[in-house]
Assembly symmetry: C2
Homo-oligomer: 340 residues x 2
Amino acid sequence: MAQKIKLSTIAESLGLSTATISLALRDSPLVANDTREKIKEQARALGYIYNRRAASLRTSRSGIIGVVVHDIMNPFYGEILKAIETELDRSRHTFILSNHYDSVEKQRTFIETLLQLGGDGVIMSPAIGTPIEDVRLAEQNGMPAILVARSMEGVDLPTYRGDDSYGISLATNHLIGLGHRAIAMIGGTDQTSTGRDRYQGYVDALHRANIEVDANLRIPGPRTMQGGFEAAVYFLSLPQKPTAAVCWNDLVAIGLMNGVARAGLVPGVDISVTGYDDLEQASISTPSLTTVSNGQAEVGRLAARALLDRLEGSHEPDGIHLIKPEMRIRQSTGLYRPRA
Amino acid sequence: MAQKIKLSTIAESLGLSTATISLALRDSPLVANDTREKIKEQARALGYIYNRRAASLRTSRSGIIGVVVHDIMNPFYGEILKAIETELDRSRHTFILSNHYDSVEKQRTFIETLLQLGGDGVIMSPAIGTPIEDVRLAEQNGMPAILVARSMEGVDLPTYRGDDSYGISLATNHLIGLGHRAIAMIGGTDQTSTGRDRYQGYVDALHRANIEVDANLRIPGPRTMQGGFEAAVYFLSLPQKPTAAVCWNDLVAIGLMNGVARAGLVPGVDISVTGYDDLEQASISTPSLTTVSNGQAEVGRLAARALLDRLEGSHEPDGIHLIKPEMRIRQSTGLYRPRA
DNA sequence: CTGAAAGCGCTTACAG
DNA sequence: CTGAAAGCGCTTACAG
């Protein structure tokens, strides 16, 4: 590797000062047009690489934004990230990504690393059990935080997520409308706000239809395709003989349908199944999945915008911003028919 | 936010010099045990945050490693990334991730950003059409590059990927062994080394079995579940009435099976389908997918190790390191039976 | 075992 | 419109 090119290299080669070079490269109107062009030309010719660390040490702005979610391999988060990426790209921010796999430790390490790098802000879907201090750590060191997909009690941060309780009630009502009565709820956990809200939405919908809530019809836990697949056997063996399942998300629903099919029953005919999220693969599963659109793209876009606005000084109101979910009716749900 | 705590803050509060503080925090043996403990204690008490930008400006090592692949939402890359993450985590490196979506521009912007941040190295799955200069740009500025999943002609970089030609021949031979003769190849592109190698492996396997290669049985393009799903109609309408399909990857295969099922045929019985990659979802699709394990985890792990080794000065040999693929036989392939 | 001083490569008032 | 100088917060020889 050749001699390192820096501002002073360019300055000397042109007989100017580093101040002028610096200003020119950042398109300051303080530099004459001719000079600016000459400087940019020379920078290109020499293969100059801007040293952001030096700049950011001086300005205390790094252009780095951190994003930490449960698992980027989960397409639900993937779709949120894609929207965030699109939004940040156009503002020339670099984003640093991490999974926390619901480990509070891993999440804290990430926040600390981000602070060390001088991150300008962080978008997070907080890990289960995140202590308030960990979020405060960011804020107190001048790094604003925005929450996505999950809320946190006791902090007043801008939070963008779907209206889970309403969304799950759409799915539950849809099944009730088709004549189902023994409706199981599969997946999710009480440890997240999302989990509690969805279960509550399901319970409320049943109540409104005067259907007794049977706690044994709740199968908590599964959040993945594998989880849904494995839950199928247990689901089918329930003595209540449920004819429908409200699933935690599309992955669980698709896994469950595969499990049901493997057991010789036909999903959408013998067993009605709803998903949640409306992932890209929901419409092409077999049968195509009736689900609830959860507005991931909107969540990501709004969260990124909110953070960028904050960095520019304009202060969006704090608190929870709920995205309205929408029903997507496809082939995985059908009229009630009793189990053989 | 309170007063910024820096080394000198700690130094003054303890009546020591910043040099001592710096050494103590990094566990230098030059500092007495008692002093070190006192310093660490005080750093914690004051809520000191290490400024990596300042340190890296001085040492010209940032602890940042960049990773750029086609699309992190594709589980194939997701599995590679997960392995890289695991490996880098234990060496306390931060990794910056980006998709290039096969845009050479986006990829170059990423490399430039990484250089500006003083990245220590980069792991990349090069975008289609990547010019050699873009990779050289990294190397010439002291940022070693490692390639994964795709090779590049004309550069002598360490490259980790599966043996595609051999892998696809395993799948093709398996179908031939079941009695299939009209075997289509669905998906992929001649624009990547992987695409060319896989097609070649398929052609070679047919030749070896004295089966004439029919160019019309190749349906290039699809790389996603959606793509496989959409290809199903065309595939089923081919006048050669193929009874089997070697798919570009698991996603295409699963999409195709869904499309085949939607058309009223039974995948694994009427139409045999093989995938590639052995993603987690391959074993739980309906029917479970016969596929080729592509060693993603191994690719990611080895690539990360190779980069870390290089950063520590030991020089692994350059060139292509092929991971041996393995056949996974499941339910999506069955004995030949003529199409109705 | 600890300290004083220089320097990493920028940007930003301040002069002119 | 351009330049000289200070300083961002570290680390690293060099002294003692």
